[in-house]
Amino acid sequence: MDWGGIIENTFRGLIGEQFIYFGLAAIGLNMHFGYTGLLNFGQAVFMAAGAYGLSMAVATLGLNFWWGLLLGIVVFPLILAAIMGVPTLRLRADYLAIVTIAASEMFRIIARSPSLDRWTGSSDGLTAFAKTFYEFSPYDTQERYFFGLFIGNQMWVVTVGWVVLALVVGAVYLMMRSPWGRVLKAIREDEDAARSLGKNAYWFKMQALALGGVFGALGGMLRAIGTQSAQPQSFITDVTFFAWVALILGGAAKVGGPVVGAAVLYAILNFTDIFLRNSVADGWMPEWLMTGTQVGQVRFMLIGLALILLAAFRPQGIFGSKEEMALDDR
């Protein structure tokens, strides 16, 4: 049993790249669901908007990196939010849910289409768009940093990711303590009440959808930069649900909830992965119970089990407050 490797990997899950990508996506979902009550089951498409906004700008259109940032963080997510929000946000919450999950699958399937190869690189996706990003790296590409966890380029992605995450968390913290955040929460509680008090519920929901989408796009863009590729298969619906798991684990409607949730999720995933692999390799795990190739699936079962236990014993999530949860029953 390689305890050093297990601890290293668990720690990496706790603070590493996946934590950053999905933490940002989950913060976006928290903005949608936790604060405004919008059901977005297509956060993957906002992540894809960030990834493809940057990669298409640079690799397809030949624009420079900064235009890519603008396209991926602002233009693509706002267009998406408008496409999905304008027809649905005047209707009941379920319509947005349907449209978002459909939009995320449509985007993925369209991006994969061979006829769009020239634009999206079809199923191979796009590469070679992050050169400028890595040129700014202060780290030596051959060195290992941060207790030897990350090599140079990874360290640069993680550093930028931490800064972005901190800025986003700070912004959400400030915004949700403002009158603007108060209106969002009121819309979550009762849209008609907010409207009767002179609040344009539709417009506030639109803003929340777009802003949460921008946070998701930041996560998706960092992910594309970190993996140096933007591929349709990186934005399957599972991606949306990982972000949801992170949000539910941590606790919705709390600023730190999605961040802690994402950290815990990837710590558990990484820990179970390497721990089970080691157990199988060392012969601790009887063959009839599990083989090495099943580890990948089993760890998701364990996450499922953790969610069931959470729903039973701590439905408000790690950060949520029980008192608030109890108000639902009244």
Partner: protein, 288 residues
């Protein structure tokens, strides 16, 4: 109405000379509805020829179940749009105003099923009510120094209202922990944060225990004494008799009677609507 028993019926001064009939013109109407019709499929829920609501007075809208009161109320508050007809508030045509803007014009409503925002504190419920908050702009939300002063002002106003409605001790509790009656009080107090000149109350007495009823009645009267116009929908006839200055009766989507509260019980159309018309005559199926 026969002439001999009308003489002893008290009439609020503002309604002197107003005829006791449906669609009567008022000296100074704040809200006027004309030719308003709303149907759901084949059912015409509301078909009102004309209604004027007098400024600065308490008007009650009553009627038996299914009379279309709430539908008409939703039309008057612009939460619903009529198929045809006009509604003007302070001489402004409501069809050209978005639902949420009505509050900015000075008309605020409450709901039959109280909409206290459970997972927000009582004080946050109150603060939400203030209109024209600069901190409600997204780009200002993370610049607290641009709205902090206004926030302090409306907080002071909210605290004064909580004091008046005897909710100060619940200031920082979640609204979801309040009792039914306290929620009604909170909803009314929150509506006043809008600084309205017309308050529309949808069944303010529904689900309120008798002990709180009197205080709620006093609060409604207090609104009039401060110069606000009140229109309320209500089943509770005691409340109607006690606090309203004028009563409008609906049945089957139409206004069938208007008059001072004491006159309504003697009105034959109203008695028919509540107790069933012409129980000794043949059923009339020709109408509509």
């Amino acid at each position: 109405m026969t002439a001999e028993n009308t003489a002893d019926i008290p009439v609020a001064p503002a309604f002197a000379g107003v005829p006791w009939e449906p669609g009567a013109a008022k000296p100074d109407p704040i809200l006027v509805a004309t030719g308003v019709r709303r149907s759901f499929g084949g059912l015409t829920a509301v078909d009102v020829d004309h209604l004027e609501v007098q400024r600065g007075q308490i008007t009650a809208l009553i009627g038996p179940n299914g009379a279309g009161k709430t539908t008409f109320f939703n039309l008057l508050t612009n939460f619903d749009t009529p198929d045809v007809g006009t509604r003007t508030f302070e001489r402004r045509e409501l069809s050209r105003v978005a639902a949420h803007r009505v509050a900015n014009l000075g008309m605020v409503r409450t709901f039959q099923l109280t909409k206290s925002l459970s997972k927000m504190t009582v004080i946050d419920n109150m603060l939400l009510g203030a209109t024209g908050q600069s901190g409600e702009r997204m780009w200002r939300s993370f610049l607290p120094f641009t709205w902090r002063r206004q926030e302090a002002e409306i907080t002071a106003r909210a605290e004064a209202l909580l004091e008046r409605f005897k909710l100060s001790h619940m200031r920082d509790e979640f609204a979801g922990t309040l009792s039914g009656g306290q929620r009604k009080l909170l909803e009314m107090a929150r509506a006043l944060m809008v600084e309205p000149n017309m308050v529309m109350l949808d069944e303010p007495m529904a689900g309120v225990n008798p002990a709180l009823k009197q205080s709620l009645l006093d609060h409604v009267k207090g609104l009039r004494d401060e110069g606000m116009t009140v229109l309320f929908v209500e089943h509770d006839m005691d409340m109607v008799q006690e606090i309203s200055d004028w009563v409008v009766v609906m049945a089957e989507g139409r206004i069938i009677a208007e008059g001072p509260p004491a006159s309504i019980g003697q009105n034959q159309a109203v008695v028919d609507a509540y107790l069933g018309a012409h129980h000794d005559a043949a059923l009339d199926l020709g109408e509509d």
